[in-house]
Symmetry: C2
């Protein structure tokens, strides 16, 4: 007897609340500026093929790569990160400061599980990375926003929010922030603001989750070096920095890491529930990365993404209407465009689709629905398309904007 | 100024409660019966090497394998599972019934997040799979036990527990069970008991999480076919069955799956927080598995593990003292040994180490500390060692038992 009606699953609260897919990677239109996908032409296919062949032709190496691994991560991979942080940032950490995770999303998820009980408050930038917002929400966090201004996170605004919450007796568990090549705005917080932010965090005893996914993709190194990470500047051990190989090597590896003081790393490790992060991918990256191949790969990426960034900025200058403003990122994958509130986002999206181009509506990147009267925002990714395609896509987008502005007048 | 004392992290409750590592895969003594690790000699190294070379030498195939993937899983891999379930079990499912996960632990974790709010009751067998106990606990579940008898899960005992809880106004969210080649006991629940269990689940409106990690490793198929899975017998859509490639292919892939009705799968998918399961491993397995290579691999494993199982059962007969009793598993990786309560577990462990052998103390597999007066239990894994090593290990274990029994008298 079938008896389907009798079965009433009682979901957990978090399961009852999830409603839409957070991310549907892969699907795209011919000219899409919507997704922050790395350019697959730049995947280090030959290097991976060689590394994979070396591992799988060796009985001991393959036995180790295919077996369960240690929960903290493959030691040579961790060692590689330790050495690279020292070389590229002068940042000296020990293996006990690192945990390999299932992408940087995995690291953010573990940080959330480490800190958040149902209803706890976590501060996020408005706008912020959509994926992180959904991870934090699903951990049970209540999200409060701190403002982002033209120079990045607004430290004074963040302090006001903390003061207000403090007066209400609310102590946020953490601030999630992306100070370097921010997703979606592309902005980078200055050194002074970083130091000031850490000072505020100290006064309010706030943990900072620093999402550092894009640091390696810095296109303007000729103009000076990047400000140190919050993790590097932190003197209290209050920063959990997350990183990823998704942008520098390949998202399909699903490998990221967390960088924090050893007690935090140990506790995050205890919260991992999947019997260790995918071992075969860790061995592949460690084998690939011997003799500095990761540095060479990063150099290749910087040389390939810089002209894309430049193509986009030039095309925006040429083709966007005067009403539009945008950021000029020094790295990462994204430009953030601001349009007058008179532009109706659904109407713009419709016109853009008609022109054969799409983008990520900026409103998605805010944890709360944007109120009427706010500007209309767009996130444009320049990572996936070729410079020529980017020019064409921006040209079409400009047309769509003019159409929408025309109909709004 | 360093100011470490000022920083007082306030962990989440679950983070405050985790204390010990659930699993430390990899580390082992020369003759260890402790870990349920697959034999690395049986990893399909050559097949993986060929599949990996095919993918990475092809621009389109490698671009797809290295990019972000779909959250549900790589469609050809899901299709392979659909076909294999039909061929090996006569079980007809659609791709919408399947979700690829980060090992079967990932599937259990998602099922827990789907169902469990802090403090909700989940029933587990006593004893049960250690990894699942810790996943369920960290999801916030309160674990109540149902008894395991010589024939596996005790259906009548389970019903009593449900009755008692019902009278107390407690409705458990789920039962987590491993009816086939149970970890740690090696027992398989009969068809009649499965049908009876589903009937009880229907009466109490209970979701069942069926951990089916070992089904393929059936060594006695000459004696008849395995009973259908709870998922296959279920008429209400109340079973979430979990599976894994860790035992048949390699744990280092970290690939498993959940099998459930589409509404459940969809909701589990929405709870995935890591931007999709490791894509490169999914492409590797799908490529490897074309033309039936997975079936051939399973056949190889069955032929290789059967003599190990037989070696262990024969050695137990030859070398264990009369006071010992043990299960006779028809598949999987484990034998469960019972000794009189007079044997002190730490003393036995000490003697065993002295003899150069180790095992998993059975007490670990119970969600509650075992009371004095209970038998002393051991879980022995026959998966990793060669038949000759197994014989030697059991011989040493027998010596250790006799020593401990002697000192107990």
């Amino acid at each position: 007897m079938t008896n389907k009606d009798m079965f009433e699953p009682r979901w957990s609260r978090r399961a009852a609340e999830v409603g839409t897919l957070p991310f549907t990677g892969g699907a795209r239109l011919p000219l899409s500026l919507a997704y922050g996908l790395p350019d697959p032409e730049l995947f280090p296919r030959a290097g991976f093929a060689a590394a994979s062949a070396r591992i799988l032709s060796d009985p001991a190496a393959s036995a180790a790569a295919l077996q369960y691994g240690s929960i903290a991560g493959h030691p040579p991979l961790i060692e590689m990160l330790v050495e690279r942080l020292a070389q590229t940032e002068g940042l000296h950490v020990s293996p006990a400061n690192l945990l390999i995770t299932h992408g940087s999303s995995g690291a953010i998820g573990l940080a959330a599980r480490l800190l958040v009980d149902d209803g706890d408050v976590v501060l996020v930038e408005a706008p912020s990375f959509v994926g992180a917002l959904s991870i934090l929400r699903r951990s049970g966090a209540q999200l409060y926003t701190v403002p982002v201004v033209a120079s990045g996170l607004d430290v004074a605004g963040t302090e006001s929010v903390l003061q207000t919450l403090h007066r209400q007796g609310v102590q946020p568990k953490a601030l999630y922030t992306m100070p370097t090549f921010h997703n979606p705005t592309g902005l980078t917080l200055s050194l002074d603001s970083r130091v000031a932010l850490l000072e505020v965090a100290r006064r309010y005893n706030l943990v900072i989750i620093e999402d550092d996914a894009y640091r390696d993709l810095y296109y303007d190194s000729a103009e000076g070096s990047l400000p140190d990470s919050l993790y590097a500047l932190d003197e209290d051990g209050r920063v959990i920095r997350t990183g990823t190989f998704s942008k520098t090597l390949a998202p399909g590896l699903r490998l990221g890491w967390a960088l924090a003081r050893p007690e935090v790393i140990e506790r995050m490790m205890l919260l991992k529930e999947e019997g260790g992060t995918v071992n075969i991918a860790q061995h592949l990256v460690a084998e690939f990365g011997r003799d500095g191949a990761l540095d060479a790969q990063v150099q290749t990426l910087v040389e390939a993404y810089r002209p894309k960034r430049d193509a986009m900025l030039n095309a925006l200058e040429s083709y966007l209407p005067d009403e539009a403003a945008w950021t000029r990122p020094a790295g990462g994958f994204f430009v953030w465009v601001t349009l007058p509130p008179s532009i109706d986002p659904p109407e713009l999206a419709r016109c853009a689709l008609e022109q054969g181009v799409d983008y990520m509506p900026g409103a998605i990147c805010f944890p709360e629905p944007l109120q009427p009267g706010n500007p209309t925002y767009l996130r444009l990714a320049f990572s996936l398309l070729s410079p020529e395609e980017i020019v064409e896509a921006v040209k079409r987008l400009g047309k769509a904007m003019r159409q929408t502005l025309g109909s709004a007048k």
